[in-house]
Amino acid sequence: MPRKWGAALLAMTLAAATAACARPGPDPATATTSRGSITVWLSNNAAEVAWGTKMVDAWNRAHPRERIKVQQIPAGKTSEEALSASIIAGSSACLVFNTSPASVPQFQKQAGLVPLDDFPGAERYIRERTGPRADQYRSEDGHFRQLPWKSNPGMILYNKKIFRKAGLDPEHPKLATYRDFLDTSRKIVESGAAPAAIWPSAGSEFFQSWFDFYPSFIAESGGKPLVEDGRPQFDSPAGRRAATFWRTLYREKLVPQETFQGDAFGMGKSAMASGGPWAIVAYKHSIDWGVVPFPTSDGRPASRISTFSDEKSAAMFSACEHRATAWDVLKFATSRQQDGAFLAATGQMPMREDLAGTYPDWFAKNPAYTTYAEQADRTVEVPNVAGSIDVWQTFRDAWTRSVVFGRERPEAALRGASRDIASILAEY
């Protein structure tokens, strides 16, 4: 028997060794100058797909030899997870118009992204289009592995019908200070106008903080990112005030601890939501809504409030074989004309300098977007640091434990998360 086991072990070791030789990916040297048909992935947002299909048609008419095939990002719990899986499988599209900057460091580590500054003139193109904000999107080694594409600055949307039902003035909602926001929320829930004042997900996915804590913290702190110069910033008076504000909402059951299956705001289950300009198109026919900035403790004016950008980038993936074509498509899709078409189709804000000045006619015709466009100039990004997913996950775990479920004091949770994140940052 021992001899048999020895043989089995040997076979296992040999097999594991052969398993280590992987299939090769495309050769970067030839791919960079290669031209041909490519695939482009878009998010499953209907308005974005409508724009993407038109953009691709326009390209294909002009370039019959370098045709684009357009598909939606594959299914997964999140598009980040689906993209990561496609990198490992070597099956990613050439270009993905929905890459979250928070996952760029991870994709980079997985050797999944093509540095865009490989292409002549790329650096200048990105900086001229986006302006100085573009520097937030450089990787730590200084390369651009993403082209900042569009943002959805987060603001508070509210449902005027529910406000009216709760006896509140829908045209002048009291939502600027924490105290006003809480009073308004209490009236909504106590009057039974809606079961929830606002209903962010109570889930522990790493990105959920982008829709509750992060915009609140950016507003309260006057525009601080989560991490700056390698140090966490949220264990501060501003961070504690923002966390305590949310804790009060949860403690008084103005925000439910159960995650709503579906769109709570869209179905009238919550009176408010945190949302970007995409919401204008989404709720055009269903809800009479208004929009205000995130509240702050001192109720400062809208012009001094910054928020989270919820930016999505376009990125080129290393499975791409015809990268010269892909780079041309990237420039074509982010040209002044296509950005204008994107803005008109989706209402989301292209990452272009002086947006309101570039498309004055459109904003004149669609005044609802002006509030967002003004906000778009004061946005803060997720930190572009290695281990950013771990950083966000650590933060989220502390948040759900303390603010959502009240098993720890928010102050202590923030301090603990700050310490843990500092050690994650030191480790990478």
Partner: protein
């Protein structure tokens, strides 16, 4: 995925497996060395042997290798180093509060699931153990959840136990707050009850088979000794079906260690606040969602050791008098 083939009952029609018994007639009848090698036997098993090698041996070796290195998934053809880190990954696993919580959750799961399954399936099997009208209807009814996909059943349970579900509507003011699936105390028990419900039909059949082998004489002599109903149930039936009880316990441990779809779907990713996270869910979240397969591999090895130890313990406990 797999359950050890433990023989639960005494009245099985097949002879007990005894490893490699030399009772096959081929040895006697085959003309010596008539065929050149390889023999048909080796040919017949080679696809299966290859399958075991590719699907079990290689990944098993690979898991162990990953768990001792700093490893992450990369694009095909990408060069990367995976330095040897010794027991670092294991240290990380043991110092991770979510991992510890998930093992605690499994303990809660077992503490509820095993007694519930044993008692209910024994009661139902005993009730079924007679000539009765609609007997095959009952048997089929108990078996239906067992053959149905977890995903479909989880969907109904989520609806039943949701904040505005039927259960809360029937309970009215008695409904728990926060509701079942977001209640840190109740989320794991709901999962344990769900799994007991889903698997019960299978164990009813196991106990039904086991009851056939409890001899009538034992009951008669117990009655002669003046034992009451409860006494004779405890002193005759319970020891009589002990092998089946071992099976239930071992099976529950393996199911508990395998829990994934229930916490992933029923409680929205092990919520609330990891109160229903299972080790496999944590493996998925860390290994695949968050890109730390080295941590997840180490957790997998720990989990398997945990299962082996617990299964041996369960056999010891349930078989100590048998």
């Amino acid at each position: 995925m797999s359950i050890p083939a433990i023989r639960a009952t005494g009245d099985a029609p097949t002879p007990a497996p005894t490893g490699q018994r030399a009772d096959t007639p081929t040895q006697r009848t085959r003309p010596r060395r008539k065929f050149p090698l390889p023999r048909p036997g080796a040919l017949f098993v080679s696809p299966y042997a290859l399958f075991l090698l590719v699907v079990f041996a290689v990944p098993l070796g690979y898991t162990l290798w990953i768990s001792f290195h700093r490893f992450y998934f990369t694009a095909p053809g990408a060069e990367f180093d995976a330095p040897w880190v010794g027991l670092r990954n294991y240290q990380d696993v043991f110092s991770d509060p979510v991992v510890l919580r998930s093992f605690l959750n499994i303990a809660v799961f077992l503490a509820i699931n095993v007694p519930l399954t044993v008692v209910l399936s024994l009661v139902l099997a005993s009730a079924l153990n007679a000539k009765l009208p609609m007997r095959s209807f009952f048997r089929a009814a108990y078996y239906v959840p067992y053959v149905t996909a977890s995903v479909a059943l989880v969907a109904v349970w989520q609806f039943l136990f949701g904040a505005e579900g039927l259960v809360n509507n029937l309970l009215g003011d008695l409904a728990p707050d926060p509701s079942w699936l977001v209640n840190p105390v109740l989320a794991m028990p709901v999962i344990a009850v769900f799994v007991a419900w889903k698997q019960l039909g299978f164990f009813v059949m196991v106990y039904l088979a086991a009851l056939q082998s409890v001899s009538k004489e034992l009951y008669e002599s117990a009655a002669l000794d003046g034992a009451g109903r409860v006494r004779s149930f405890l002193s005759v039936t319970v020891p009589g079906v002990r092998p089946a009880t071992t099976l239930v316990a071992v099976y529950a441990i393996i199911t508990g260690a395998n829990l994934f779809s229930e916490p992933y779907l029923l409680t929205g990713g092990g919520g609330p606040d990891h109160a229903s996270a299972s080790p496999v869910l944590v493996m998925y979240q860390r290994g695949i969602e968050q890109g730390h397969p080295d941590f997840a591999a180490a957790l997998g090895v720990v989990l398997v050791l945990f299962v082996v130890v617990l299964s041996l313990l369960a056999r010891k406990l349930t078989e100590k008098e048998g």
